[in-house]
Amino acid sequence: MTVTTVTDLHDGAGPSPASANGTVRHGLGSVIRRVWLVPIVIIAWELGTRQAESPFFPPPSRILVHMHELWFSGPASALYLTEEASANFLPSIGRLFSGWALACILGIVLGIALGRSRTLFDYVNPIFEFARAIPPPALIPLFIIIFKIGTPMQLATIVYTVIWPILINTIDGARYLDSLHSETAQVFRLSRAQRFFRIILPAAAPKIFAGMRVSLSMAVILMVVSELVGALNGIGYLIQAKQQTLDLAGMWGGMVLLGLLGYVLNGTFLFVERHVLSWHRQARQTN
């Protein structure tokens, strides 16, 4: 990856022209090495499905054209989204993000409290271990009864599932705070707020981010599951509706769309993480 460029920056005088050149070549080479298989797989997929001529497996070119007709041929004022697209994509993405964000806030706050207090942790841990062992889809029937079909039930499903990796990682990160970091905080009599925001939170951030990343991809899964089971709109609902009306290219389109969504989300997350945690990466390389 880009590890070489980072160490170059810390030679003192900055990267020499020769090493900068090497980095560019290295970057291009690594991109080619990473993506060469992608076009080959797509071509094989296209050829294979054309050969088979099965109505259940339309070729990718048809899926793409159909996706365009169905969802991306709207007016420019609606960002080229068709009515069907905006009526289903936006609620899905809204649920995904609000569910994930809610889980992040709850998970981080609870996790730090539990990580910093042994007593609290000992009390709550058995309950958490039990709650965590229940597969979340099994709770959907309960959530449907409590919240009825709709967004609150879907949010509950997403939050209940994706909070665990964040919570567990945050507990871990907050608990193993370097003893000298906390002693320094004590000696200089940092306030509670300073300890929380300036010491404990950043120190646990690498672990918290690892949890948030796992949670984000889980949130996509749970968004779809909750929409397949009980929803009146959303990407998951759309996939099921296409299947039931035998619009199989549309069903495939929904799957492709979810793949793209997950890919983009993960990429964006990694980009942000790299930026926020640059101190962590670089400090580890120099020490």
Partner: protein, 258 residues
């Protein structure tokens, strides 16, 4: 200024209990620089951590300006040996130095100004925007000293502050402590296992025995000031003091081993 009376500390209980401090009496006068020397593992750090309020001693009393220390006092700063873990890697050097000043009720501009001055005083005038891990070990320890300086404590504790740097850097940092102390007038208690260092830096050297630590003896250092790494160390008085401290450290070790 600092008054330690019959300080005892025992880690653990029962058969595994380890007595680190066996009754220490120590007085440090206002403006004095006292070095505490002792064999490694003798409980020097336990002494310092008790004074800093980081551990609660089993027995005895610590008073700073006639107030008994129960928790960390507000006008006390510590420079730890392990600078790489004491500085926060997610904050710039300037933020590291300025962080404790919020408790002093200073606004943002005043904090930044104080940090800049402290960094200037330790010879790192342009490091505020860098991160600790971008600096060498010696420079990181300078930042830790700057953080303590900006805090303007009346008592500065230093726990083997130069134990993790190379010999050249060590001499530079010793001189830095001396100059800082001349200009900022504070009371310093410096813990070290290096006999030469204790004589070179200190006004007074207190020697501890092996654990459970007691005061084995103390010597006033009557060397002329300002001190110089080469000239001072050549003085017959320096050589004599060094030998005396060395004898105290060794004798006590052999006694307790016998």
């Amino acid at each position: 200024m600092l008054d330690v009376v019959n300080l005892r500390h025992t880690y653990g209980e029962g058969p595994n209990a380890h007595q680190a401090l066996g009754g220490i009496d120590l007085k440090v006068a206002e403006g004095e620089l006292v070095c505490v020397v002792g064999p490694s593992g003798c409980g020097k750090s336990t002494l310092l951590r008790s004074i800093a309020g980081l551990i609660q001693p089993t027995e005895g009393q610590i008073r700073i300006r006639d107030t008994t220390v129960a928790e960390t006092p507000g006008d006390l700063a510590v420079v730890f040996q392990d600078y790489s873990r004491s500085l926060f890697p997610w904050m710039s050097v300037g933020d590291n130095v300025a962080l404790p000043l919020r408790q002093r009720g200073q606004d943002r501009a005043a904090r930044r100004q104080a940090a800049a001055e402290a960094l200037e005083a330790v010879g790192l005038p342009s490091a505020a925007g860098k991160y600790p891990w971008e600096l060498s070990g010696g420079m990181q320890q300078r930042v830790a000293i700057a953080r303590a300086l900006a805090y303007r404590p009346s008592l500065l504790l230093m726990d083997e502050p130069f134990g993790s740097v190379d010999a050249q850097t060590r001499e530079d940092l010793e001189d830095l402590v001396l100059s800082v102390r001349r200009h900022h007038r504070m009371t310093i208690l410096l813990i070290t296992h290096d006999i030469d260092e204790s004589v070179y830096v200190g006004d007074r050297v207190v020697v501890l025995t092996k654990s459970p630590a007691r005061v084995a003896g103390e010597l006033a250092v009557d060397l002329p000031s300002p001190r110089d790494q080469i000239a001072t160390r050549q003085l017959p008085a320096f050589v004599r003091l060094r030998a005396e401290v060395g004898r105290l450290v060794r004798d006590k070790q052999q006694h307790s081993e016998a």
